[in-house]
């Protein structure tokens, strides 16, 4: 077995160099075909009938009129009479038809009678939750009561962060053909290699009979791993329609209602400290919902896990709303918001700079040195020392009612690579093909894989053909948990190294050297210490005769071999302006300093952080699911009052990647999630710093900001 390692930092020609996105042109010109753009011959259109009620029992369902409509090929009931639906948007029945219009018209011909049952759709008032609230046992570390008694300063606060939805621009859905015992699936998925098995299980078809293809996806963010009930039903509709392919995508409202959400988190928090800012105790009573399953406790206190005296209580609240799914760093944004808000309030009470308070307590974290350096770097970029002012004491700038403020927050994440296999083929004509059953979520996975291959093979990027997004290729894990780059980079390195070594063996005699004396550089195979003895790549490959090289490489998460690892930290800071007359918050600047191991492509890494920052800004300033307790309705399941930022709402984003020899030695680490974690928290803190009072609940909309300001004045 050869030893695998990343080339030393100063010898890399491709890895670590800012490199353009490989599929940028396809995407920006619309040539990129998403699964929803496919149109296999004979394709039918599926449509989904959903519950208009938050909680009801179906007393009867009559599909006969829909079944007899011309153009309808199949009707299936998903929730039979006698069964309950537990949220608005719950799946009732599906239809397949020759046009989308007929399918939708047919849905309206399905007659469903409901018996309405009591519902609860809002969780922010725990008292009203009654028996829907399920407290977990109390967890105590140390002696929090004593610590609170002996503290120099104690702050108490209530904070809240609502349920938000993923808002994938390409909704959940797929095109599927189920004919005989074979299934062709064109999904929108983060899980090309394994979704076929998931679908096959429901259809009782062997995974081997399910062929999955997906080249592009319009957003997943943790919500697109499974085959989904509507995907399975689409396959059954296909089968029932003589094996014709069926296209089934959720409409926007249904997408927002049932295709996943990020659970809420509310908490009453108490923190104790010494005069010098050393935290001595943490107490929190939190509650959350992610639908009927309730919502788990965010990891509190976040990052500062070494606080010696801690009391934790948590209550899961079951509400009649669609279920939660992983949302970019599950439960971490909530934990960061709750913790960093309370710590900033503590700093304000102590009249300390929060930067100093965070620094003072880094001993409680798992990576003190990293955070210390990051706080310093972020502060430098933000000009924190010069620009920070005590809470509410900043000078007004421009229009007299506008106040400016700074805030900070902290993050941590794993990001270890998933299991991944790559196959490299070198053909006698010199062409090179890589195959991996992975997916590019828009993060630049394609580009990163080709960069690693180009580095190993000494070839230009354009000389390498990459094939991904197909379940026939060697398997690769789901793209969740920031695991993709740490999975595909090692498997590609190993596979291309193995293939290259085979080529060296074939070429060595011609160059009068042994294989271990050869190197692949600038499109040539040459003797390492005598570059004059070399062959162009094509000529070298001709030595293979008629035999192509085909070599595998595998990333095993349990044996990273120094190529990848996990565990990162980051610091994020926000600079905001708040119009104190209107309560409108504007982003001026956002700074992210992020540790991420070996960075394959700095441009893509920065781009990841830009995306995460934008997602966090949306959540901090605009996003909330508005549920109506009277009717059980999700009132803003649209893109009108479910508000997302436009480009003018984002402000400046400055990214500093912690690219250092020490971090580089750790190998590749995933970056999808960590930069999305602290954004909400640092913006909330910046607003408090600006206006002199805490806005306890996000999003930081005009009504909440003005109420907070009036509370102070009252």
């Amino acid at each position: 077995m050869p030893e695998y390692s990343w080339p030393p930092m100063d010898e890399r020609r491709v890895i670590g160099k800012p490199t353009k996105r490989r599929d940028g042109l396809e995407k920006s010109t619309g040539r990129a075909k998403y699964s929803s753009d496919q149109k296999p011959p004979g394709m039918l259109f599926g449509a989904l009938l959903t519950s208009p009620y938050a909680h009801a029992r179906i007393t009867s369902i009559d599909t006969s009129e829909a079944e007899h409509m011309q153009g309808v090929t199949a009707v299936r009931v998903m929730t039979a009479a006698g069964k309950e639906v537990q949220w608005e948007g719950a799946e009732i029945a599906t239809v397949a038809a020759v046009t989308e219009e007929i399918a939708n018209d047919a849905l309206r011909k399905i007659k469903v009678q409901y018996e309405l049952l009591p519902h609860l759709v809002r969780e922010e008032d725990l008292v009203k939750a009654g028996n829907r609230a399920k407290p977990a046992g109390e967890q105590v570390t140390g002696d929090p009561d004593k610590a609170f008694q002996e503290a120099d300063a104690v702050i108490e606060g209530s904070y809240g962060i609502p349920v938000i939805t993923h808002c994938c621009l390409e909704p959940h859905g797929n095109i599927v053909q189920f004919a005989g015992d074979k299934v062709n699936l064109w999904p929108s998925t983060q899980n090309v290699s394994a979704i076929g098995g998931d679908l096959g299980k429901s259809l009782e078809v062997p995974a081997a009979n399910v062929h999955v293809q997906m080249q592009y996806i319009g957003g997943g963010f943790g919500s697109k791993f499974a085959a989904d009930s509507w995907g399975v039903e689409a396959a059954r509709l296909s089968k029932a329609s003589g094996g014709k392919p069926v296209k089934m995508y959720l409409d926007r409202a249904t997408e927002l209602k049932i295709a996943g959400n990020r659970p809420s988190a509310f908490a009453n928090i108490k923190v104790a400290a010494k005069k010098d800012g050393t935290i001595t105790a943490w107490q929190s009573a939190s509650w959350a919902t992610g639908g009927m399953g309730g919502g788990g406790m965010p990891p509190l206190p976040y990052v500062f896990t070494g606080i010696p005296n801690v009391r934790l209580n948590h209550t899961a609240v079951a509400v009649n709303a669609g279920g939660a799914r992983a949302w970019r760093a599950p439960n971490h944004p909530q934990a960061s918001f709750l913790t960093c808000s309370a710590l900033e309030d503590l700093a304000a009470k102590l009249r300390m700079d929060p930067l100093e308070l965070f620094n003072k307590n880094l001993g409680y974290t798992a990576r003190e040195a990293t955070y210390k350096a990051q706080l310093q770097k972020a502060a430098e970029i933000m000009e924190w020392q010069k620009r920070w002012h005590p809470r509410g004491e900043g000078a007004s700038s421009g229009h007299s009612s506008v106040k400016q403020g700074l805030g900070l927050a902290i993050n941590t994440w794993g990001g270890g690579g998933h299991a991944s296999q790559c196959r490299t083929t070198i053909n006698p004509d010199g062409s090179v093909v890589l195959e991996i059953g992975t997916q590019d979520l828009g993060t630049g996975t394609r580009t990163a894989i080709v960069m690693v291959a180009a580095e190993t093979l000494g070839l230009p990027l354009g000389a390498i053909t990459l094939r991904i997004g197909d379940s026939d290729y060697p398997p690769d894990g789901a793209s969740g948990g920031s695991t993709t780059i740490g999975g595909v980079s090692p498997s590609t390195l190993k596979s291309t190294t193995n293939a290259r070594n085979k080529l060296f063996a074939a070429v060595a005699p011609a160059l009068g050297a042994t294989p271990d004396q050869l190197a692949a550089v600038d499109g040539r195979i040459q003797v390492k210490d005598n570059p004059s003895k070399s062959l162009p790549w094509q000529d070298a490959c001709r030595k293979l005769g008629t035999n192509k090289i085909s070599e595998m490489g595998e990333n095993n998460p349990r044996q990273p071999g120094g190529l990848m690892s996990q565990g990162v930290g980051g610091i994020q800071m926000a600079d905001v302006s708040v119009d104190t007359e209107t309560g409108i918050v504007k982003m001026n600047k956002f700074v992210a300093v992020q540790d991420c191991g070996l960075v394959v492509n700095p441009w893509l890494a920065e781009s990841q952080i830009h995306g995460a920052a934008i997602m966090g800004i949306c959540a901090a300033l605009f996003e909330e699911r508005v549920m109506d307790e009277q009717t059980g309705k999700y009132l803003n399941a649209d893109m009108e009052f479910y508000k997302l930022a436009g480009i003018a709402d984002i402000g400046e984003i400055v990214v500093h990647m912690d690219i250092t020899p020490e971090n580089d030695k750790r190998g590749v680490i995933g970056l999808g999630e960590p930069p999305a974690i602290g954004v909400i928290a640092c913006i909330g803190n910046a607003v408090a710093n600006a206006i002199g009072v805490r806005v306890t609940h996000v999003p930081l909309t005009a009504d909440r900001v003005l109420a907070a300001l009036e509370g102070r004045n009252a």
């Binding site: 109506d628 009132l635 003005l706």
Partner: protein
């Protein structure tokens, strides 16, 4: 969407002949930015849709002396870019610019802006124009009402008028021309918007067999401005707006029109505040006082008290902008 007959007339005379006698029978299509979603949600289920975009006489902006005539199918983009509108009617240009999406400005029309239906989320979720449950109980007072009316909300209507141009046109004293098979009439912009008393009626004075053909702006000798408070810079419904038109004698206001938007079921004329401004110069203090006076009668619902403050600020800032503006 329910199947419908599509009519594509070339003249106003043909178009009005195709309209219905009752609401709900026939809908008029201009930019379609509102109608299409209403039809997709089955809130509107017309048997016929009359496209008016191919009617040439409904287009164009023309200035005759001090009067400016704006065709019904002029887009918000055309309106916002028009040199005369920008120069003489900043109150209107700014209102159009507030629709902060080039796509919406390119598609949306003047008449469409005036005739669009409310954005109330109870209405859009199938609870009728007035937001009532099946027993007729009003859902808005005890429900999610942070975007609802703070004025003119004694019931049964609690929605806010969605029109972006309405407040500016009311403030300018514009006339809106309507044509039916039996002739034409001009309605003051202030009377075009009405508060419906039942779910079956409309929030505008237009009759089912009438078509908006043009908007006529009178005098050009005013100082004017619109100020919108929006949560987002990007496309977003305003939380409150104020459109003001001032007749000035030197630094002093001789008469004022102050109209609030997105705070009531119609554009809301702040009559007392208008009167209180007469004969005074617009200073910060005066603008602030007038802003307060404009909201004197506000009756906020359970979740929208903050809109009172936003509307006050909108009036104050619009006044300061208008007074500072040069013609």
């Amino acid at each position: 969407m329910q199947a419908f007959e599509y009519a594509n007339p070339a003249t106003v005379r043909d178009a009005v002949g195709m309209l219905g006698t009752k609401w709900g029978e026939v809908d008029v299509l201009a930019g379609g930015t509102d109608l299409l979603s209403l039809m997709k949600e089955h809130i509107e289920t017309p048997r016929r849709v009359v496209n008016i975009k191919n009617i040439k006489e409904l287009g164009g902006i023309k200035k005759h002396g001090t009067e400016v005539r704006i065709g019904a199918t002029v887009t918000l983009d055309e309106l916002e870019r028009n040199a005369d509108i920008r120069r003489y009617f900043p109150v209107l240009a700014e209102a159009a610019r507030g629709v902060s999406s080039p796509q919406m400005r390119n598609m949306g029309t003047v008449a469409g802006d005036l005739c669009q239906r409310p954005r109330c989320w109870y209405y859009r979720n199938g609870f009728g124009l007035l937001g009532q449950d099946k027993d007729g109980k009003a859902l808005i007072p005890g429900g999610e009402n942070k975007f609802h009316a703070i004025l003119g909300n004694g019931g049964p209507a609690y929605f806010v008028s969605a029109s972006s141009l309405g407040p500016a046109l009311v403030a300018l004293g514009a006339k809106i021309w309507l044509v039916s098979p039996s002739g034409s009439r001009a309605v003051d912009a202030a009377k075009f918007f009405v508060t419906p008393q039942n779910a079956g009626s409309r929030e505008i004075a237009l009759l089912p067999n009438e078509l908006v053909t043009e908007v006529v702006l009178p005098s050009t000798d005013t100082h004017s401005a619109t100020y919108e408070v929006r949560q987002k810079e990007a496309l977003d419904w305003p939380l409150a707006t104020a459109s003001v038109v001032l007749n000035m004698a030197g630094d002093t206001v001789s008469s004022a029109r102050i109209v609030l938007g997105h705070v009531a079921p119609t554009p809301w004329v702040a009559a007392d505040a208008q009167a209180a401004l007469s004969g005074r110069a617009v200073t910060q203090a005066v603008a602030s006082e007038i802003g307060k006076a404009a909201l004197e009668d506000a009756t906020p619902l359970s979740q929208n008290r903050y809109k009172v403050q936003l509307a006050r600020v909108a009036v104050k800032r619009a006044l300061l902008m208008a007074a500072a503006g040069k013609i």
